[in-house]
């Protein structure tokens, strides 16, 4: 039998509302139904003016971050009956401006993300633009940053961080985790350039390990951990204790490597 759940949804229309308010909708819920499904039910049957952001509906695109029962998480991978028996509050991610209803303005996060140079930085720029070979990286070296690559930029960590709540200029967990993702990549040589920002007064040292970012992250990225690695490296760099390492070298051109004996050759090209 379907349960009826009261969805208490934050509404805000910039054209006519002074401030956000909460509107309640009764939604019949089946087992397995996600909060995203519930919002679709409201839009299709109860109130077509409700706005929110989503795309993939499977926890991949990072668009549907919301505050569900006070906790920042993805609407598409949260089942209603897992978190509610009678009532469910649905609000936009805090620490971001509200554009409309459940749609936060994530631009501040993306600007901070771009600022940490979230890409491989190397002196041989020509090679990056027009690659003529491959860079060698061992599985262990990959393991040093792989966890931090799973971030889908949903902003849940930014909404949960108490430091960001009082310091709007703090870079925040997502951009700092992205900085560590590239700093730890052996192909990269941009750490010292990133240190300018990550070591600034609104950078990594603003974090005091409240850990909320890691607790809410829907992808297991553990940004709090990345930030602590970032701090260690900043301290070592500041004290000139870090060994200067060259980024890993180019191995050989495409197709010029020696394949291992136990690897089946690739099938012939079809296009």
């Amino acid at each position: 039998m379907p349960a009826e759940i009261n969805f208490h949804v934050t509404r805000y229309n910039p054209e006519c509302d002074q401030a956000p308010y909460v509107k309640t909708y009764r939604v019949p819920v089946r087992e397995g139904m996600t909060v995203l499904d519930g919002l679709h039910y409201i839009k299709d049957n109860l109130d077509s003016s409700l706005a929110w952001r989503y795309s993939c509906r499977m926890g991949v695109c990072g668009s549907c971050g919301m505050l569900l029962n006070g906790r920042a998480t993805l609407a598409c991978n949260t089942q209603i009956l897992h978190i509610a028996t009678t009532d469910l509050t649905v609000g936009p991610l805090p620490n971001f401006d509200i554009i409309r209803d459940l749609v936060p303005d994530l631009l501040t996060m993306f600007e901070k993300h771009v600022a940490v140079k979230p890409y491989i930085v190397r002196a041989d720029e020509a090679e990056l633009d027009d690659p003529a070979g491959e860079f060698y990286q061992s599985p262990e070296e990959l393991g040093a940053y792989l966890q931090f690559t799973y971030c889908i930029k949903c902003g849940c960590c930014m909404a949960a961080c108490p430091t960001l709540a009082t310091d709007a200029r703090y870079s925040g967990p997502m951009p700092l985790a992205a900085a560590q993702r590239y700093n730890a990549d052996t192909r990269d040589d941009g750490r010292r350039a990133r240190n300018q920002l990550t070591g600034s007064s609104h950078g990594a040292f603003r974090c005091h390990y409240a850990g909320e970012c890691s607790r809410v992250c829907p992808k297991g990225v553990d940004p709090a951990k990345a930030i602590q690695y970032l701090k260690r490296q900043l301290v070592l760099d500041y004290l000139h204790l870090a060994r200067r390492k060259k980024p890993c070298a180019k191995m050989h051109g495409p197709g010029q490597g020696k394949p291992l004996a136990n690897i089946t050759p690739a099938p012939a090209k079809t296009v």
Binding site: D97, P104, Q147, T166, G211, E212, R215, K231
Partner: protein, 145 residues
């Protein structure tokens, strides 16, 4: 294009206090900030009070204001704040140097975070803080008699 109106949804101080209902580290974070501010306030008062000496005012002598029970209790609070702040600070130094958070792992569901790795350290520090508080409290009480 006309500028779209937005609603500022920053949590402010509420983000420290009201949002904390999930993890012990968040409470440790709030308490660390509050005790830090408390110790700073004490330090400022301390400077003012001792500087009054230049005007011949000695508030701390036998029978002076600072021998009132309220100030004794206040002193104990300063000690408690110091004990907590120092011990939690040791944990934070270790954590922030990346020493107590473990290695990067593959995020396989159910996700594990570094919070679990440093939790024993947090618990050990809190037990130490509790022992210090009990010893300090005993000392204050016996001096008060």
């Amino acid at each position: 294009m006309a500028e779209i109106k937005r609603h500022d949804n920053r949590l402010g101080l509420w983000g420290w206090l009201g949002g904390g209902r999930w993890g012990i580290e968040r409470y440790a974070y709030i308490l660390h900030r509050l005790t830090g501010l408390g110790i700073l306030l004490y330090f400022l008062m301390h400077v003012v009070v001792t500087s009054l000496r230049a005007r011949g005012i000695y508030l701390w002598v036998e029978g002076g204001v600072f021998h009132q029970p309220m100030f004794k209790f206040g002193e104990f609070l300063v000690f408690a704040a110091f004990a907590y702040h120092a011990l939690n600070g040791v944990r934070l130094v270790l954590v922030e140097l990346g020493l107590a958070v473990g290695k990067p792992i593959e995020p396989v569901y159910p996700y594990k975070t570094s919070l679990g790795v440093q939790r024993p350290l947090l618990i050990a520090m809190m037990i130490l803080a509790a022992i210090l508080l009990a010893a300090g409290g005993y000392n204050f009480l016996s001096l008060a008699k």
